[in-house]
Symmetry: C2
Subunit: 429 residues, 2 copies
């Protein structure tokens, strides 16, 4: 196919007319397709339907003989701390188990810092006027919303194939008002990037202006591999160890959850921290609650008793997800592959997203046009601080939830809208 | 039996010698008995062992056809909001369901006020220098610890048979630094008092200096009746309605949980608020988490689908608890009933505690002596701000957890220690 950039105005106008006809046809189909969020599909959720079966027939006792039905064991039972420790490559004593959402744990961690400060803070963060937070972009909208809500100025940092651009990060953190950074180190949301060891080491060892600077290391997709070939699986080093080795032992909180391993609406979460951060946090956590849901912890530990069992479960997830990611990629390739300097997209080896890059200035229009044709996409810009992508050039696609046929239709419509908006843009110029 | 106050020094000394012999005998028994906390017993927890059985065989769908296994429905499924609304006498739309612990919800609610203020606050509470909180005494130690940790000065308010002494409360709240009050309106912890309607109305309608004053209405024991005779059951009016009627619709947050209905280590909790507080809270809660554990909500709703089912479950709890409370009361009566002007204790119609009042200045010694004989009691003073009972004259007894025989032994030892310390006190004078 001839490149749009080589086409005459007449040819482009002709193309647009054909595409518009197609688009109008889609609009008459009264579709309602949703690729907005990284939700597991019902088939994936079915994988864990029998998780609670173990409970009614057993004694509700943890490996330490604690009755999980009763109060106590605030940090969570060892049965499940062991599993997450193995997954994260850290020690079970570094772990604190929470309820269903790791986002909740991140929010709470910053709330603690807001009100009390960190263990090494000169003052509570709420008293730091002009506080700032680094946001590698594109990134996770809900992360950014937490620090925005808590009054931080969000500083965008470009992300490369190796993670956040460390030359830029190292400069920015010299500002003592910069108190932290969001990181999704393995299969980053939405680009699917796996941080290099070099990036991890530089994050652990960089000099920061704020002595209470914190990395929020959201290892959300640590075992969420898509590739059938295990040699392509991503992995990152244990960040707690790296920070300790670099002489910055208090620098990091790590987070993970079972939301996309078992049930998004009924999982368990955890955070990992070194002893000093953990002891300090526990003094506040012990006032906040007597314990979290240990019955659910036991169900999880019995259902998935070790890392190998978790990886087995994740292989089943991947088998469901792969055809969906493949369908989206295939249509993008077929429809837009002729013009890779206008459109390109990620080919993630794990995680939940394909990130689609379009002609600058067109993403918002594409999303609006798709919406009109019954296809809901994540708002353009969602992956950027304040929801504003300065280039207006990327859209996060979430192939996990809809059936393959819906994905095909939705992606086809997306490509039609991408072409129309591109032509309009080219015709403007 | 002759009153201690009528005995001569010789008689008292003789008594003490006999009691000391008995006490030393107990010490040789190497006991380890625990009446420290209001924990359900294993028999009570067994009542809910089959709660999760419903899940594996069903479709995981809420009454609104939501898949509880997935993300979404941040306020919690209607199935369970309906049950708690019925219990609390309010509307299901006033409810927000949380994870396992209502304490966590109370802590988070004050944290939100600390960082953001309430909807009607002139400024965040963390910026109110010298902020104060009213603590009806005796009360719940974990409540007091929350506001202590968050930098409030704790102001003790005496509690009467009708609830907090409202003449005193009404005076204190004219101080604009007083931002709230802890209330356990039904079967208060530890005295088992049920607030009168008059008290509730005065709380709802009193004039407060702080326009963002809040009542934290912990309805922890709303269905936790002990009395077999239902006419003796306590109940309090719907506080949200009373506040609205009095023209103070934003004044109250109400809390409840299933911790002592199903599993203390795996229940669900909720808070209730009027629309303005709820809308305001949801804006922050929506940043904190995508949803709480809805799988657990569905299990609860199927296991206990309405108030009548909950009351049926509570009757079973009461049947297990009654003999335990009776055993403690009986021994106290037999051993100490001869001297009601020295010792007295509560006869609760619900809740989890018997509060034991002893000769002023002896409670700490009694607890220490019991400890030495292998009986753990709640620290004397725990029911008072900062853990300090100015009279040192009460001990909270928790009969729920230990087997009846252990309770008998523990209470017997308590009475021996109570007598010894009383004699010592009388001999001093």
């Amino acid at each position: 196919m001839k490149s749009y950039k080589e086409m005459s105005v007449e040819e482009l106008t002709q193309q647009r007319a054909e595409l518009t006809k197609l688009y109008e046809e889609y609009k008459t189909m009264d579709l309602s397709l949703d690729m907005t969020r990284g939700k597991p599909s019902p088939e994936q959720l079915d994988l864990s339907n029998h998780m609670y079966d173990v409970l009614s027939s057993t004694d509700f006792k943890s490996c330490k003989n604690e009755d999980v039905r009763n109060y106590g064991v605030p940090a969570g039972i060892e049965d499940v701390r062991k599993v997450f420790a193995e997954i994260l490559g850290t020690d079970k004593d570094n772990l604190f188990m929470g309820n269903s959402s790791s986002l909740n744990q991140m929010f709470d961690a910053i709330m603690r810092a807001m009100v009390f400060g960190e263990v090494d803070s000169p003052k509570p963060w709420s008293q730091v006027e002009g506080r700032k937070w680094l946001c590698p972009v594109p990134g996770y909208d809900r992360h950014f919303r937490v620090t925005e809500k808590l009054g931080f100025e969000l500083i965008a940092v470009p992300i490369t194939d190796e993670g956040p651009d460390m030359d830029i990060v190292e400069k920015l953190v010299s500002d003592e008002k910069v108190l932290g950074i969001w990181c999704v180190p393995c299969y980053s949301n939405p680009d699917g990037i796996v941080y290099s060891e070099e990036t991890c080491r530089r994050l652990a060892s960089m000099k920061t202006g704020a002595k209470d600077f914190r990395i929020f290391w959201d290892n959300a997709y640590v075992v969420h591999h898509l590739a059938e070939d295990e040699s392509q699986w991503g992995s990152v080093p244990d960040i707690l160890s790296l920070c300790a080795e670099a002489g910055n032992p208090n620098r990091v909180y790590e987070f993970a959850s079972s939301s996309k391993i078992t049930f998004a609406g009924g999982g368990i979460s955890c955070f990992a921290a070194n002893k000093e951060n953990m002891d300090y946090s526990k003094k506040i956590l012990g006032v906040q609650a007597i314990c979290t849901n240990k019955v659910n912890q036991l169900a999880h530990a019995r259902f998935l008793p070790d890392k190998e069992a978790v990886l087995g479960q994740m292989r089943k997830h991947a088998a469901i997800l792969r055809p969906k990611f493949a369908a989206v990629s295939e249509i993008l390739e077929n429809e837009l592959g002729f013009e890779k300097d206008i459109w390109h997209w990620t080919d993630p080896k794990g995680g939940y997203f394909i990130n689609f890059y379009c002609l600058p200035g067109t993403a918002t229009n594409i999303v609006a046009m798709c919406k009109e044709a019954g296809v809901s996409l994540t708002p353009a810009g969602a992956s950027y601080p304040y929801g504003k992508d300065p280039d207006d050039a990327s859209i996060r696609l979430s192939p996990s939830y809809p059936p393959v046929e819906d994905l095909r239709t939705a992606t086809k419509i997306l490509t039609v809208c991408a072409k129309i908006t591109a032509i309009d843009k080219l015709l403007e110029e």
